[in-house]
Subunit: 229 residues, 2 copies
Amino acid sequence: MAKKNNEATPEGAPARGDWRHYEPIQLSPILTHALEAFYEHGFHGTTVRDIARRVGVTVPALYYHHENKEAVLVALLETATNDVIWRASAAAEEGGDGPRTRLANVIEAVVLHMTHRVRLAALDSELRYLQPDNRRHYAATRKKLEKLLDEIIEDGVRRGVFAVTLPAETARALLGMCQAIATWYHDGGPLRPEEIAERYVDIALTTVGARGLPARSDLEHPGGASSIG
Amino acid sequence: MAKKNNEATPEGAPARGDWRHYEPIQLSPILTHALEAFYEHGFHGTTVRDIARRVGVTVPALYYHHENKEAVLVALLETATNDVIWRASAAAEEGGDGPRTRLANVIEAVVLHMTHRVRLAALDSELRYLQPDNRRHYAATRKKLEKLLDEIIEDGVRRGVFAVTLPAETARALLGMCQAIATWYHDGGPLRPEEIAERYVDIALTTVGARGLPARSDLEHPGGASSIG
């Protein structure tokens, strides 16, 4: 799985700030057409034959590249998960040591992913049809995102920047709030991804009890902050 | 559609407080088995033949009751939507004139629906495969729930009980947060529906900037409150 240079993985081009930058996603023709088909008709509503027809290849040619339809879905989920994880991680890192900026950045990154990559993000609802092994793998990967948010929130609470009684539940709720965007967002809607992201950052900061102070503020470092790793 | 006494509709048994009460949902055998099949394999992953086999009837017998597979999904979505709408409306009404209690009640009602009725709630992700007419119908019905939340939040902001800059977006975000529960909740998980509801009420009250005061408080009626309908 290493050294693919045509996917938006961490090995791709994750220079600082790049997490805000979106190009049309680089996928093989098979994955590109499969993604469109799954978006329109769902995983179960799409046959291998449908995908092959869209690509303009034979079914055996498709099987040469992917073991079966589930393997196609897995490849797309892999791309989706890698995309959101590297962007969210880069966004958190760019936020430095400040919980407020880190949280704002991560929410922005997740919302930008949910909108700019809405077709990939919408695959989420197909997760439960995966075979148990594959499902567990993605559940674990997605858990990373929840854990990243949870750690930022707990850090903010420890440092008195956030007022949250249930950090883990709040992390999950915030993520759910962002993931639900993929159920209503569509290209060409009234709001651009950046506008939606700005609003969700505002809502998220209120949710952790941190609103009213500028999101990217240095005020949030009270003293030496020696307790945080 | 009037006078069905075997569905959880407003005509059913919506006495005060009943919105917190859940019995096994009353569905015809066809709808019961279709719901299980859709939950396990998705709408597109289920054939009319699968449903007939589960019920133990012939395919023509099934077509006698439902025009096609989409009509079965529509009947289930109708039940799901009616269930959550009447419960949320009753919960809001029971909250009287207080935005905080009304919001807490509605969030509690929606979360209880998402958990106690997780199979119905999970049908949400099948909505986008409906024919345009049916899709528009459900989008409009679900919009009612968003509007209910939005009105409560705007009322709270007007009365100085909530601190929210984006009421409509916050309503949608809170609803998304609750709807996402259906993607991870399963019967027999570590938390009971009532415990999850309690936590989400807490998070929602923080999100509207209303936490710190008791959820069911009379403190939230400052003076005569003449401006609210």
